[in-house]
Structures are given as structure tokens and as C-alpha cells.
């Protein structure tokens, strides 16, 4: 049996689509074959809520009279890009002023979504067409033209587990890593994670409609560092960080319930992003893929105390147990992405689809199939 996007959307419109979360379907797969799952289920919802530094917002402030070609821009004291035409900017989540390292681009984005008013100050050299050289004013989502979240790299397909074999505590984007491997941190929603459930991106491509921070957003492109060359395990899941997604969505429809500014000690500002991706069960192969379980998803253990050396592998069932055994040691494990929030998102997306508020989209263009990561060489 095969189903088409249109058949599934017709069911969604009639309120008859059977939708389950990836966790529910993995549980079902204990007693049901992929064929039986395909017969019963139309759409599987996946989700993740984690720190995704490569995120940001495109803002257009509107023109003042007389106009200014904004070449240097600060929002709430944080320098943001002056490299887009006159009154556009890109607020990168990790933008910050080094004198105030705990407030950055992510906080600007969250404050805007929370409806706050922010200070905007901008400078230009003054041109014949834009004579003004300075402006200091206030902005909010109400006063500006566009506010679009555009994230170049989100929702990593799997991620390495971080440990630290050195003698010193490390403060990293993977959290506090205690010396001598006293802890290990991991950051993936495992069997609920979007790119784990459609590992070869058969249904996730350009234009795929998704849940993005509470809004209906879209997959805009393959994410940066999209890598199809990572070794896979016997369940065809890459053992470590591989594919990624670029995403776009309207900020005015978002909520800080699913987007949160954050600061990692000695690392800097980052942002928690909530993503939900629906996977249509078009055939048995997809039904088989979404049945993946935590014990079947393996990832590499990376030593942040020794230049990122890969020193072993483990799986998400072990990581979720609170302790992994590695090199004869029991290591306390802790997550970094919120499974509770990811479940909330998967459930919300499920409700949207069941209620007919969210239809599925076939990719406008599929994801690349032959990419690898380049390293930056020094001269």
C-alpha cells in the first residue's frame, strides 16, 4: 500500500487523519509490523527543543524622515548587522556586546516576541539619498515592518555526547563538563527527533511546512554543515551530527513558550528553538523508519577536554537511563535539550493536524544526497 500527500491531506481536511507522535509509534512498533503501522497511521509528528546557536531574525525597521542608511546598528546596546540595505538587519542569536555578554541577539528576539519595546540606535555616514547620520528611537514588533525568524542551521540529525577527560571543569555549549569524565551531556530528542525519523530526508525538503516556535514555519533550505557522509549504524542512523535544516517563520506568530534566550557560562549567548516536523507515512519504508527506538540510535562520545577526539559510542536508551558505562567507569548523564518541551510540541502539532489546521506539503526540492564537511585550512 502507498499513500499520497493529497490522500493524506484530504483525510486531514475531513478530520479523519490518524496522527501519532514518533514516541507513540515507536511504542506501537513493539507489537506491530511496518505494514500494519502504515495501514493504521497517516502522519507521525516529531519534535525537538534545544539550543540552536545558528538562528536569527531578519528585521526591517521602516524608514525615518529624512532617511538614514543604517551602517552601524545597535538594538538594546547589542551591535547587529549593518550590512543589509538601509533599514534591514539580521540579528544573529549569538550577537552580543562583550561588555554585557549575558544579553545578546537571542534576548532581542525573545524580547520582541514577548511584545517588549527595545531601544534602536543607528548611524550612517549620510548620503545624498539618505541624509540622516544618526537616529535613536524605540521599536517593537508593532512598529517595524517585517520580523522573520530565519535559522541557517537547526535540528541537527543526532549530536555527539560530550565528556571531558581533562583535569579541569569546562564550560561549553554542551554545558558544564566536569573533569575526569564525571558527567556526560547529550542533546537530542532521540526517537522523537525530526531527522532521526526520516534519516534520508525522503519527506523533509524545501518548503516542508513545520512547527517553528509556535508558528507554522517552513524548511527554507538544507541547513548549513548538511552532511550526508557520516557513518551510519545498522539501523541506518548516522552515528553523530549529520544533516541539518534551515528554517523560516513569522515571528509575530511565535511564543517564548517555544523560543528562549539562553547563556552558557564562558561560552556566550544562544537560543533554545522549538521545532516540530510532520512525517507523512507514504509507504512501508517510512513506517519502518518512524518505528526507530532509542536503543537503536547510537551516537559518538566526544572528548571536549582533548580537542574533540571521538573516543567511543553509546545509544540513547543508555543515555536516558541516567548513567552510561564507558571505559569501565559509570558516568552520570544529563540532557541539554528539553524532552518535556519536545513532547509538548509533538502533541501540539498532532492536534493541529487532527483538527485540520495544518496540511502537509511535498518538498519543492529534495535535500542534497552527496555532501561532506570541509575544514577551514590555515595559510
Amino acid at each position: 500500500m502507498r499513500k499520497t500527500y493529497e490522500e493524506i491531506n484530504e483525510k486531514i481536511r475531513r478530520g479523519q487523519a490518524v496522527v501519532m507522535t514518533a514516541e507513540e509509534v515507536s511504542e506501537m512498533a513493539k507489537t506491530m509490523s511496518p505494514k500494519e503501522i502504515l495501514d493504521k497511521v497517516d502522519v507521525v509528528t516529531t519534535a525537538t527543543f534545544g539550543a540552536m546557536c545558528s538562528s536569527g531574525a531578519i528585521l526591517n525597521f521602516g524608514h525615518a524622515v529624512p532617511g538614514i542608511r543604517m551602517e552601524k546598528i545597535k538594538v538594546n546596546g547589542v551591535p547587529v548587522s549593518g550590512g543589509l540595505a538601509a533599514v534591514d538587519t539580521y540579528v544573529g542569536a549569538t550577537d552580543c556586546d562583550e561588555r554585557n555578554p549575558k544579553y545578546g541577539g537571542a534576548h532581542i528576539i525573545q524580547d520582541l516576541i514577548d511584545g517588549k519595546t527595545l531601544e534602536l540606535e543607528a548611524w550612517g555616514k549620510g548620503t545624498d539619498c539618505y541624509p540622516r547620520t544618526h537616529i535613536k528611537t524605540e521599536i517593537s514588533l508593532e512598529t517595524i515592518n517585517e520580523a522573520v525568524l530565519f535559522n541557517p542551521r537547526n535540528s541537527y540529525q543526532n549530536y555527539n555526547v560530550a565528556v571531558n577527560t581533562s583535569d579541569k571543569t569546562l564550560h561549553t555549549y554542551m554545558g558544564t563538563l566536569l573533569p575526569k569524565m564525571k558527567n556526560a551531556s547529550y542533546s537530542s530528542a532521540g526517537e522523537l527527533s525530526p531527522l532521526i525519523n526520516d534519516p534520508e530526508c525522503r519527506t523533509i525538503g524545501l518548503g516542508t511546512r513545520i512547527f517553528l516556535c509556535g508558528a507554522q514555519g517552513y524548511v527554507a533550505w538544507n541547513g548549513t554543515q548538511f552532511n550526508t557522509s557520516k557513518p551510519v549504524n545498522k539501523y541506518e542512523i548516522p552515528v553523530g551530527n549529520a544533516r541539518t535544516l534551515a528554517m523560516i517563520g513569522e515571528m509575530r506568530e511565535m511564543t517564548s513558550r517555544f523560543l528562549r534566550a539562553a547563556y552558557f557560562e564562558k561560552y556566550g549567548v544562544t537560543i533554545y528553538i522549538g521545532v516540530g516536523v510532520p512525517i507523512p507515512l507514504l509507504d512501508e519504508d517510512l513506517a519502518h523508519r518512524v518505528s526507530i527506538r532509542n536503543s537503536e540510535i547510537e551516537t559518538s562520545i566526544e572528548d571536549y577536554g582533548n580537542g574533540g577526539e571521538l573516543i567511543g559510542t553509546t545509544d540513547y536508551a543508555s543515555l536516558r537511563s541516567g548513567e552510561i558505562e564507558f571505559q569501565g567507569k559509570k558516568i552520570h548523564t544529563a540532557p541539554l535539550s528539553s524532552l518535556a518541551k519536545a513532547r509538548e510540541i509533538a502533541d501540539m502539532l498532532k492536534t493541529w493536524i487532527k483538527d485540520g489546521q495544518f496540511e502537509l506539503t511535498a518538498p519543492v526540492r529534495p535535500m542534497p544526497t552527496d555532501t561532506a564537511m570541509k575544514t577551514l585550512k590555515e595559510l
Binding site: A184, A262, Y263, P335, L336, S338
Partner: protein, 136 residues
């Protein structure tokens, strides 16, 4: 039982081996949580005493008799739970087990009675939701 105290030292006292005496004379397990002492100057010490109640009382009397100011302290780590996203990052450095996250609900659990006020969570929380509170 375990109780926490703040001891304030006069300048002339800082050279004495207080912890040695407490162990030797009263058979008390001592955990120094915070020390702010410079030789020749007054200072404060936040300690945790673990022993039977009578022994702790005897030790408190002894410390007072030595010209030091000792008062019981409730040092608490406070979590702004309503802002918590249950990411679990804090549990990675909470070795006393006061902060935990696990199946089935994966919501952060904070059991203050297990907290030893090591304060690692203050830096580990990406949303800075932990604060330290003192009360006598």
C-alpha cells in the same frame, strides 16, 4: 543530622585550627561550604556539621565560648520554576542528586533537602534560574 552555620571570626581568631578541634573534640563531620578568611583579619565561614544533635549543640557552645559568633543558617538554592524549560543541563553538575530529570515525564525535579549548596547549578543553568538565598 546535618545543620548549616555561619561563623563570624574576630581578627585574633582566624589562626586557630577550628575544624581540627571540632573533629577531635566533638567527633563531627565538617563540610566547609564557603570560606572568606584572610589571616589577621575577620572573616566568615559557612559550614555544615554532621553528627548527633547533642554533639552539634556541644560544638556550637564551644565555638561561642571561643569568642566567635555562630548562627544557624538556612542557605537555600532557589529555582524560578515557572521559567524552567526542563532542559536538564543543571542535573549534569548536581552530584548530590537534588536536581534530577528522568522518565516518565522528563520534567526537572528539585529536592531541596538533598541540596548541599555547592552552587554549580548557578553556572550550569542556561537560563540563570537558580539564585542563592541566606536566612538566619
Amino acid at each position: 543530622m546535618t545543620r548549616k552555620f555561619v561563623i563570624k571570626f574576630p581578627a585574633e581568631q582566624t589562626g586557630d585550627s577550628l575544624t581540627y578541634n571540632l573533629i577531635k573534640k566533638f567527633d563531627i563531620r565538617i563540610n566547609i561550604l564557603k570560606a572568606d578568611i584572610d589571616a589577621g583579619r575577620s572573616g566568615t565561614l559557612l559550614i555544615e556539621l554532621n553528627a548527633e544533635e547533642e554533639k552539634i549543640q556541644a560544638a556550637v557552645d564551644y565555638i561561642s565560648s571561643q569568642g566567635m559568633d555562630i548562627s544557624p543558617v538556612e542557605t537555600k538554592i532557589k529555582l524560578e520554576a515557572e521559567k524552567c524549560i526542563s532542559c536538564g543541563a543543571c542535573t549534569s553538575s548536581c552530584l548530590s542528586g537534588a536536581l534530577s530529570i528522568s522518565a516518565p515525564d522528563w520534567n526537572l525535579r528539585f529536592e531541596p533537602e538533598k541540596c548541599i549548596v555547592c552552587k554549580l547549578c548557578l553556572k550550569a543553568c542556561p537560563l540563570q534560574l537558580f539564585k542563592i538565598e541566606f536566612s538566619e
